[in-house]
Assembly symmetry: C2
Homo-oligomer: 332 residues x 2
């Protein structure tokens, strides 16, 4: 069945079937607007758009994976504020020729990703007749007890810590875009494909570390860009210790295959959705313990300084970095 | 300059220049997520997507008008809940070849429409490389003192009232889509073009009548569809008095030109963005007085009944209506 025969009412009924009812006080799909209950600390809100052939390709991703990715890319913004995602709105522009099964799978991916976090889709829009599918998600969250964790707030002496590993998403992208068979054989290696196709927002980690960090952001545009973001405010800079970057063996091997070492993927690749945070030394232990409870490793990769510059150091030697991330969606 | 040379940072700087700073407690563009302050009555939220060649065409609309329309289409959903719009997020997928002047005009339209209502753009996304421009707006509002006015709540004996006039947007669409010169000459007639290209959300009216109505919605998909929405709940139906529909002379004349009488435009045309409300007889006078204060006329066009059916009556004679609105964006 084509999407245009499913209709907007059919789509709404489908979403209702796929997810739990909204919690008390929240009014979901079905009226002119949804109602979000009063929250003492207000609401966090963010919006990210995914476009076919830019953010995903049908020959790389199953429709369900596209839904999963859209959900996590958005939840990552709430995680970066130390908040808990609660509700979402989803707008989709679909080619009229698309089968309703594709749209159903896309929504199954969204609801499958949202459900463990208790996120409910409360509204959105669906329109037809475009060439490429466009999926726009608005995510809403609740700030943690200490309030939102902003990008602003890093102080000289803070340590820079990053979760998980960097560059893996771009390594996956390189493999997929070159259409070559994966050179390795062990199961770990496939993780770079998963990193690109189904990134995981660090929601629990963000919540756990929020009380102990001065500033935080997610690494969506590559490390170079995000360190700049954390040092944009006040009179601070940073030293980043490149030899410490958490780059997994699979990412290194992909990097070597294409004539590098994977480090560029970490610096410029983007779409890692790890958390980058500035932590005062007195809270390092608390942050590490919080991270252990969520089973996501944290790596100390640098420090905030009182110099208004960022030094990228390789075993102590300054290294020049480029100005632009690999992913500039505008320029493609 | 092409949009791709403007870049996302350039776009954000442009938006900052165009609008006022967010009110205290609200954190706007620039972090991973925006922060909406705590509101005692919670928040209203809705999302509407506009797609080039479906909701607008560059040969009919100036870019600024597209922004104005997107803003009002979204604010209309808040008006229909009896709420006050407060903040917005805007995502745009733009063809890379688009000039940055077009995007700037689009945003000028958005901010020009939002500004009088105190609505601030607090976030969004911008991505490139699609064929058709896609603009998705999320609107946030504050419920009125009596809480949100839902579609549910109409009771037998309530009167059905509608604001402004119906069918004018579709009359404008018919003129534009046939590419014919407008047959009339007086300035009033042009109002159907304006109704289609720059609809006005009934924000002040919605706020004014909210304390007195049982149920309300906006007429975005034609009257037939919206009366069904107001009678979907409980054991109510409605009588609608077709001879009373507020159809302006210009809409009638366009209807006659195309072999009808304009009534079909009111019933199925859509995009009128007027308010349809169920008012208890005891509050009719209060509602009319509230409307007079906003200078938007209200017309009594029917009544809620205790029969589970909708009767469309032309001078008392039942008339059959069609099942589908003219605008079904899915089926194009």
């Amino acid at each position: 069945m084509q999407v245009k025969r499913l209709g907007e009412r059919g789509l709404i009924a489908m979403i209702h079937r796929m997810q739990s009812a909204p919690p008390p006080g929240m009014v979901g799909i079905g009226d002119d607007a949804a109602v979000l209950p009063a929250q003492q600390r207000g609401w966090l809100i963010s919006q990210d758009m995914l476009v076919e052939d830019i953010h995903f390709r049908w020959d790389w991703s199953a429709p369900e994976q596209v839904g999963v990715k859209a959900a996590h890319v958005n939840m990552s913004d709430i995680a970066a504020m130390g908040g808990r995602p609660r509700a979402a709105l989803t707008s989709v522009a679909v080619p009229g020729s698309l089968s309703s099964e594709v749209l159903e799978s896309l929504y199954r991916g969204l609801t499958r990703a949202f459900d463990p976090f208790g996120v409910v889709i409360v509204g959105g829009d669906t329109v037809g007749a475009v060439d490429k599918l466009v999926l726009d998600v608005t995510i809403l969250g609740e700030p943690g007890p200490g309030g939102p964790v902003m990008r602003q707030g890093a102080r000289p002496g803070d340590r820079l810590l990053v979760s998980g590993r960097l560059g893996a998403s771009y390594a996956g992208y390189m493999l997929l875009s070159h259409g070559i068979g994966w050179p390795g054989t062990d199961i770990d290696d496939r993780s770079v494909l998963t990193a690109h196709l189904e990134p995981q927002a660090r929601v629990e980690l963000g919540l756990a570390v929020a009380p102990f960090v001065h500033a935080m952001t997610d690494v969506s545009d590559g490390l170079v860009d995000e360190v700049r973001e954390l040092t944009r405010f006040g009179s601070v800079g940073a030293d980043v210790w490149l030899e410490r970057l958490p780059i997994c063996p699979a990412t290194r091997r992909v990097g070597e295959h294409f004539g590098g070492d994977g480090r560029d993927y970490a610096l410029y690749g983007g779409e890692d959705y790890e958390l980058l945070m500035a932590v005062p030394p007195s809270h390092l232990q608390a942050v590490q313990e919080a991270a252990e409870a969520t089973a996501i490793p944290l790596t100390e990769i640098g420090a905030i300084t009182d110099r208004r510059q960022i030094r990228w150091l390789d075993d102590g030697n300054p290294v020049a970095v480029k100005d632009v991330a690999f992913f500039d969606h505008f320029s493609r």
